[in-house]
Symmetry: C2
Subunit: 313 residues, 2 copies
């Protein structure tokens, strides 16, 4: 049987899914070997893929990587130890003749959500993952927009402050990532809890605890959430004023705060966005950690279709 | 001979161009009659078009209006006194059987710049007009992106401050329009000149004077320019991090400051944008006030082509 693989290479784990058509037949997770500047990663993936292949014929492999991608070349993926790397060529060494599609991991997740998850039915939307960091992807006219240098959706680095208050991992100050990611929420919480009566002085300060105790009425936790919502809604307004998508889909670990978070972000967004984009819809991602695998599989199937329809002419 | 019209309806003047193919054969400017909630505008335009028609056959009319547009319906154009209005229907009353295309004026200018001006050769770019206000348009894959509610490119309302310092005409605070438009530059200049030794206390405080005297070394004028550049570069970084276009094209009256402005914006942008979008190209608009007419004519010709190719099937 013909199959494709959808592979999501992350800084901690690599998720590998084997697909028959739209259906994931099997999946596996392997540790990311960050040693030797990530030199073993692709060999590890190739071994797992061969083991999972069974009697199937591999038509294509879609790969998501945590960095900007241009024509199959990752411009750099710090979390893997990779500098510029032609990922298509590397995979072709192990899988000659197989169609390879490489895309940014957040873009892959956006496609997964569009095809099967929280973005289904929208012809245009912004996908934003709120995790340890913040990433995103942009779908317009039912197509992923990858950008002139593979960097569409680097929305974690929108500036939301003008006082050089929080240094971001990217080297800039006051990126939204430093306020609305799990990391950012912890920074705010650690500042606001000092000398205050709050559960945050008794439990571990995590994004999850902040949201859990905010819902139970802890005043400081609520303040932390409001602070995060203010910055997030401002960034989403900037994005929406620029591209006017049908919807905003929020994913990532922080979005597990669910409707409690969504309601607050949506309310403040409607106050901060330009009048004619205030009706932008909001939705939560549904595919969780599998979004990337599904998106990679979807995109490589599309590439195969296009190549075959061109070959038929 | 077959002709199309490209018409740019502004709050002060209406610019009407008659085109044979790509060439503007004739143009005319009429005052915008804002009386009676703009009820006479379309009749005035129709009269001028008939006068300019001569022996030509009108195949199409492209119309740019200062407001969000969805499927030919303007959702509201404050500067004209218009509430929601189906502009296609209104024009069809005067020109039955003629193809009508209605688009936002900044979007029309973006298309004009893309097809004939500063955006020529770029498959994707953000166009930003810095005038009394700030507008914009987005081209991706050589196509204008109009958005889910006709509001793509409302980039004048990106938030660049968090202290509710400057109230914008849109009702929000601290929109980039209040800092980087001609209006915003005057606000900053009037604040910074107080009690200082500067030419701004002797000449009229205008955006043009600020730039002219900044180039001659007036310290306060340079400070005003730097303040404007900081906010503008931040907004452009947010936009570019989101859509990763090939280029940014700056137009509008303020952009007449030319290379002096462009060099400063570009330099600060390269410091503030995410690393992988820092090579975004910068260009100045070239079409001036004619961009909208050219863009409207281009878009209606495209609509005619599509309708005819569908009819041929």
């Amino acid at each position: 049987m013909e199959c494709v693989f959808g592979i999501d290479i992350g800084g901690t784990n690599i998720k590998i899914g084997k697909f028959h058509g739209d259906e994931m037949a099997e999946s596996r997770q392997v540790k990311t070997d960050k040693g030797a500047a990530g030199a073993n990663i692709i060999a590890d993936v190739a071994r797992a893929v061969r083991e999972m292949q069974g009697d199937d014929v591999i038509a294509g492999i879609g790969v998501g990587v945590p960095g900007p991608v241009m024509d199959g070349v990752v411009l750099g993926a710090q979390n893997l130890g990779w500098k510029e790397l032609n990922v298509i060529k590397e995979f072709e060494k192990y899988f000659p003749g197989v169609v390879i599609r490489v895309l940014n991991d957040a873009n892959a997740a956006a496609v997964g959500e569009w095809a099967y998850g929280g973005g289904a039915g929208f012809s245009s939307f912004i996908f934003m993952t709120l995790g340890t960091g913040i990433g995103g992807g942009l779908i317009i006219n039912n197509e992923l927009v990858e950008g002139a240098s593979g960097s569409t959706g680097e929305i974690g680095h929108i500036r939301v402050g003008y006082h050089n208050d929080r240094l971001c991992t990217c080297g800039l100050y006051d990126c939204i990532e430093q306020y609305a990611s799990a990391t950012g929420i912890v920074i705010t919480a650690n500042r606001l809890r000092v000398g205050r009566e709050t559960i945050l002085n008794e439990v571990e300060v995590t994004s999850k605890n902040v949201f859990d105790y905010a819902q139970l009425g802890d005043e400081v936790c609520l303040e932390v959430v409001n602070n995060m919502v203010e910055k997030l809604a401002s960034a989403l307004a900037a994005i929406t004023n620029t591209v006017n998508p049908e919807a905003i889909v929020l994913g990532g670990g922080v979005s597990k705060a669910g409707q409690f978070l969504l309601d607050r972000v949506e309310k403040r967004f409607r106050e901060l966005a330009f009048f004619s984009v205030r009706d932008t819809k909001f939705a939560l991602a549904k595919m969780g950690n599998a979004a990337g695998m599904y998106g990679c599989a979807y995109e490589v199937r599309k590439k195969i279709c296009r190549l075959r329809s061109t070959a038929d002419r």
